[in-house]
Symmetry: C3
Subunit: 659 residues, 3 copies
């Protein structure tokens, strides 16, 4: 057993033996093997079956299920059952329940009914995880563990319970030492919010109007820390009792309530759950995109997360052999939780898979094996129909398995020339003070990401650390709210061109405007000051030139020594300024503007890029180039595939070429 990365790419599936008759298990295992599946995740919702009465463990069924899978050569990822504590446990520890912003206890009846701050509940988790790890930790079939499931799903990171209040006060005391320091750092004098002791601090909720943004930010930092601490309780036990097995967690899409970089430092495998049509329906608001990518999915949304979680997989001990998986992959059929749940376009299932493999994933694991007749998710398709026969997804898995074999496809972690900085704290901070109704950190970063995807270059989405920006040619920092002296220095000496977007360095860690104004520490790279920020509704662009404009966000800069004004706004303010290898953009550039700027900088630093058709995307993995068509029409892709036959790609098509 080993926690080393896999040498070839493979499929997995999520399976719930406790939900089906034991007599069916061998059939399922055989069908999995025949369908091209190597890995099976089990157990993460089974607490009430594993411990039906307090302290009465019933693990035999699980062992039998593992044995049945192992008999077909399948490898098991064992989930800890902590997302679904049983009713008897909740009744014993009512204080473990999360509490909503409105003060309502969020109770039993679904899943994730616990508050990350509950130390009592952490003890119960340690107990069940320890029992499982002792029993199964050295089982040959177990190759990895998954801690819990989708931390934070259903908005459970921020909980306003009594445990959270107590924990927060303690956390603040550790951080600040004295309440006077806290008052000073928070500038509580502003509205007489001064505290006389840590016991006077409340949670930033339920006040008459908005609370101090640093108060909110600190509670968010505290809450994020609790997720990491909750996870660490489990990883420590697993590593003690299950040596050589990897520990994974499955993150979600467009979910930023805790710092995934931080938690990933304690994981061997970062994985995420991808549902392209669910995301299109729920996370992509633009009706034009909804239509354009109907049945196929957004061309960049999943890709962004692949590029983010691949980075996350490398954060444990700065692992050069970082690992990342897709732990839950929408099968080639409708799911149940979109606003609408359409049929995937012909070919879309294969497209999703190859996009992830091309991004270097080790394993793509489908959710789920068999569609359940029952329960909350009965309208969510699986690889099998509810009646146990193969569904379209099963056939697709088999087909792509053969392709994988033929291509000898392997995971990869090649460092991209281009790094795009995405930052969780910036996401929170802009959430608390967006200054305009449609401003968010993710949206801003994602605009840059889309522009990069339109050039076909490989990108790593990375944290704001010195390590993450080394060995790059271009580093994009679209809206990094806080920059400390160390990271400013790292940017200065990293050797790459640094392209910084508006509002970078705009705040201190104490959520204050820097003494020398924005962009704060970035001023050591480029001598500018942001005097003023204006936000505007849609339809009020600020023209620059050549059809470019700022949309929604614009800053008024003072420029100092050595700063060249590349372009000005029509009303005469600096729009894009530059000081040697550092570019600063003083507003939210239109797509046309972004394309022009990014392409000019790619050329300058010597990164080859493509002028792709509108819905075509490209990735290179090792020496294979993949081309994807997310459009509803055939597209011409001359040059991308060399002289490799037809230069056309079908709607939802995938083509590849050894380069």
């Amino acid at each position: 057993m080993s926690t080393d990365p896999l040498s070839k790419q493979a499929f997995g599936v999520c399976y719930y033996p406790e939900q089906w008759p034991e007599s069916r298990w061998p059939t399922d295992a055989k069908m999995m093997r025949e369908g091209g599946i190597d890995f099976v995740r089990i157990g993460e919702f089974a607490w009430s079956t594993l411990e039906p009465e307090p302290g009465q463990y019933q693990f035999d069924w699980l062992e039998r299920a593992i044995d049945v899978l192992a008999a077909e050569g399948l490898k098991v990822i064992l989930g800890t059952p902590t997302p679904t504590p049983p009713k008897w446990l909740v009744d014993r520890l009512p204080g473990m329940l999360p509490v909503s912003k409105e003060g309502q206890v969020r109770g039993f009846g679904a899943r994730r009914h616990y508050c990350f701050s509950s130390l009592e509940y952490r003890n119960e988790c340690a107990r069940i995880v320890r029992e499982l790890a002792i029993r199964f930790g050295k089982n040959d079939a177990i190759v990895a563990w998954q801690t819990d499931n989708e931390y934070g799903c259903h908005k459970t990171v921020l909980s306003y319970s009594a445990s959270a209040l107590q924990g927060f006060r303690g956390w603040l005391k550790s951080k600040y030492g004295s309440v006077d320091k806290l008052n000073e750092a928070w500038k509580n004098v502003f509205w007489s919010m001064t505290y006389r002791s840590f016991d006077e601090v409340e949670l930033p909720v339920g006040a008459v109007t908005e609370t101090n943004p640093i108060h909110r930010l600190e509670f968010h930092r505290y809450s994020s820390d609790q997720v990491a601490a909750f996870n660490a309780v489990q990883t420590e036990i697993i590593r003690e009792h299950s040596p050589g097995r990897a520990v994974a967690h499955n993150f979600m899409g467009k979910f930023f309530d805790f710092d995934h970089y931080e938690l990933s430092k304690d994981l061997d495998i970062a994985s995420w759950d991808t549902y392209p049509l669910g995301f299109l329906s729920r996370e992509i608001g633009d009706p034009e995109l909804l239509e354009r990518y109907f049945g196929i999915g957004d061309p960049d949304f999943g890709a962004f997360h692949h590029d983010l979680y691949r980075t996350c997989g490398q954060l444990r001990n700065g692992s050069p052999n970082g690992r990342w998986w897709v732990m839950e992959q929408q099968p080639y059929g409708p799911i149940n939780w979109g606003n609408y749940n359409p049929n995937p376009h012909k070919g879309a299932g294969r497209l999703w898979i190859w996009e992830a493999f091309a991004a270097g994933a080790e394993v793509i694991s489908f959710f789920r094996w068999r569609q359940p007749h029952f329960g909350q998710e009965q309208m969510h398709e699986g690889l099998l129909l509810p009646d146990g026969r193969p569904n379209f997804g099963y056939d697709l898995c088999k087909q792509v398995s053969a392709e994988l074999e033929e291509l000898q496809a392997a995971p990869s972690n090649n460092r991209a020339d281009v790094a795009l900085v995405f930052d969780y704290e910036s996401q929170w901070m802009l959430g608390y003070q967006p200054h305009g109704a449609d401003v968010s950190h993710f949206d801003t970063v994602f605009r840059y990401y889309r522009a990069l995807r339109r050039t076909g270059v490989n990108v790593d989405v990375v944290p704001a650390t010195a390590e993450a920006i080394q060995e790059r040619k271009l580093v994009l920092v679209p809206m990094l709210m806080t920059i400390d002296a160390d990271f400013a220095s790292a940017l200065k000496y990293c050797g790459a061109h640094v392209l910084a977007g508006p509002w970078t360095g705009a705040k201190t860690r104490e959520f204050a405007i820097p003494p020398n104004l924005a962009p704060g520490e970035l001023q050591s790279l480029i001598d500018i000051k942001v005097r003023r920020v204006e936000t505007r509704p849609k339809g009020f662009p600020i023209p620059i030139q050549d059809g470019k404009s700022f949309e929604g966000w614009r800053e008024f800069l003072e420029t100092g020594h050595g700063v060249d004004v590349d372009q000005e706004t029509e009303d005469g303010w600096p729009a894009i300024v530059r000081c040697g290898p550092v570019t600063y953009v003083a507003g939210r550039l239109s797509d046309v503007g972004l394309d022009g700027l990014i392409r000019s900088r790619l050329t300058e630093v010597g990164v080859t890029w493509h002028n792709l058709p509108a819905d075509v995307r490209v990735r290179e993995n090792g020496n294979t180039r993949f081309v994807f068509n997310y459009g509803q029409q055939r597209a011409e892709i001359s040059d991308l595939l060399g002289e490799n036959g037809s230069q056309m790609i079908e709607p939802a098509g995938v083509r590849y070429l050894q380069i």
Copy 2:
């Protein structure tokens, strides 16, 4: 006295003597008689006047009021005052109050401040109803009783009180016997939702995310049962003490929170409250319809309810002489609770009345006699102005009374050739798992109803029972979620053509996909299986042929032995399939498609239908044909009125013909 149906159609009015000086009563009674009114409903909000202090009954005023009415020959429907318990009662029994989904106690100050699960409150209701029944039950002027008022109004069916929790646990215990059976039926293993005893069961509310759909459905069934049980407490007492009097309740429009069929089994008269312009404003979302029927009202909405509640009136002991009334009819003027409250179009008041009489109503009772100066409904018009003079509605009542007389109009219960199955449980189930943002049982059934109305045939809206579908030529089953073996058999042998819409038979009573997939038991009529369901937003139709399409909902069928594919989708899946006298439609047909399909089946089974102008509707009652124009323009209606003079009908016009 008798509970037999009336032999001629008549008018009534809702009257509140307790709100006006006693000296005015004789004038009111005289004006009622002169205005053509025969029936007067009183008393349903008068508890605090009838029992101002606990146990101190003051019934004399009510007796005097009845006497005054009787003196003019008016017949009285006495309402039980249970929708408005007095403050002293609420203060004594604070646990009787309903509790909202958010956990808030819904208090005193308006009406309906009670939880149907409160047994304490039921006892109080029994007490006041018994006192009233003893005092007035044999009064000659009393011809009927109304229990309470608009059960469930203001979302009071589902209440999350301690009484509800206790009641629900007991109800489950009775139903399942052992908690293991419940766990198995609910498949609680899904997310470790297993219970160890009935005392562990919570209400399906306040969980972190959605609870098990069968959990929600069972609570809905329980809650619906409580309404019926609440009603039964009163009917039993009334029937004991007031022999020979009919018992009625007044239902509402587009209100489905409890099973009206079930409750109707304990009523002699089903009645409902119709406010065409309020409904147009609040219940018909489509802005195009809002404009098209402005000031007149939707041509099918009220009609649907007439056809539904006429059926309800026949459910007590399978009464062949079922009775139904309009208990509250919007007067010929604005009401107070629409988003907007416009003036009715000239003629609209008469149109509404004749639509109901043509549908067979015994009595149409206006709400209300005199517009109050005061209170919540002071902007709701009555037949009289607030100052006591006749308003336009009074004059209209007088006018139509003369027409009634001339026509010798009589109620009727003729069984229609066409039955349309509407089902309360399906409404709840689709509410809990719609699978797409705009799917509901009512909306689906109503699309079929509208298509039928466009043909001018008489329709009965009926429950899914063997009795209800006997002696029909065409039975439509648009989206009946559960079909058990008995009803499948009834459909098979009823002799009618059965036209089933998508998702029929899609679930078991345990809210699970049937083992053999949808349409479950319907497979004994037609050998098909639904492999997959997709839902789509507006603007993404699935073309069939001849301009038809599926809109928003489409199923992927496997077809078996003896099944003919009538029509296919453009992408090659069965769209409309048929096996002898059974047709199944695998999606939500566009209106054009519905029209074609329904008309072809009507022709096939020998039901005569009309190709009506867009806004014209037709009904036949006995040997009278009524033609209505819901449009803003004159319409030509050649043939419909024989050679009966002009073939034109005015906007909001009504014409009739003996046939």
Copy 3:
């Protein structure tokens, strides 16, 4: 020292010495003086600095701050710190917190965390105000006090606390004496809402559906009274200990939750806080206006409030020398709380200032001196940048100071020929029973105001009192819900033409339709009765003639003796009726209709008016005429400036002329 009005117009600024190092204070004071500032408001959020521990007052720093300001000749307005009670106080008196409609306690962490009904908290306020008044009341630098800050901000007028319940019951008892009288006045018989004692009365909240409108109105009256009572506690103390100083409060825009006329009777200076771009973003819903006045602000919104609060300043002892200020003026830069926070258009800052001075303001005080780095409002600009250097607003202040000097500009209180009646109770009543989704008193009155502004005449916005309508030529009463006999008589004999809009006199003080129907007491001026009211959605106008129409609201009138029907609707009902000097409009006139009607009446009564270009506005103050251009384009304003050079006015331009 004196509370007399100033003899010349001046600038002020809001300053928070407690938020900045003491070493900076002298620089600030010097810069203020040099920038043209005479007045400085301080202290209103400083409680926790003034009394960091219970009873331990630390006033020395404040005295030093005042001294520093005084040393530069600045005059101080001292704010009482009651909007931000410290945490220790809240912990001692948890019952002082306001409670939301949903029953949630609204806690510490921001500001305004107190319930106006809390007598405990009033005592605490009296204590701190007394201490401050004793210490600073006779300080030469103190020229005025500001009580608290923005009463009612963040929806704090209506609080549903235990204190409020107790207070409300007592208030009702005082008002009605016996509960039977209350029951009769409220007509509680309507839905058995009858009470047996005042202790049975609940707050009008949390009921199953809407409560009795008079119940809601009375609670609103009670709540409004508490604001006045809360204020009176402070004014009494201040007047005792700080003789000769004016007392001010700073009101808000479009805020009507309490009766500002009533509270103003206890103020020497009425002031308000104006943020033209915040208001445009948040209070003006129309997207067309949003675009038309982008970066400049609505041409009439701020103006309305100037004309309202100028009246408020005259209400103390019927002061002929009423005083009003702008206490907080958006600086010439973005703020932080709009949906979007754009840059002001070039010139807009000057436009805002001159509009207020032209309306007669004594002082315009900018919010705030220096943009804070920290806290909730760190994105709100000040006259200085966060780093302490002058921002654009500072330069503007200096510039206009010179203009003021040149113009010898003085405050004024000239009585306008035209009075427009705006009434707080009508605003509440229409909120409780609007009868149509977009009807409000303010919106209705504001339509009339806009039409008046389009004529360039000066207007006073006034309460419905005999005094307020004396010495006028035209009195507009657009939707005054209640008219008692006294005010009807005042209207009759005031000598002006009275132009009454729909729904005037529609209700009694008990929120009932008058016995003789609407317009109630107005019938003593014009013999009409409103039989019916209809409301309509947008897009369903009721045509009158000449392109005029009613929009959304229309009444059906009976006309009696001496009433002429000026104009009829297309369907034949009276639209505009007249009896001598009284005109009644039976619906919501389109803008075209309003313009025609108002201009004809102005001409009739001999008030000169202008036919202004679309975005141009005019005011006359003393013998200066001011012309403003709120448009994005230059406008021609021939005649308005005499022969005073160019007849063009720039976008956001201001021009003036001695007349």
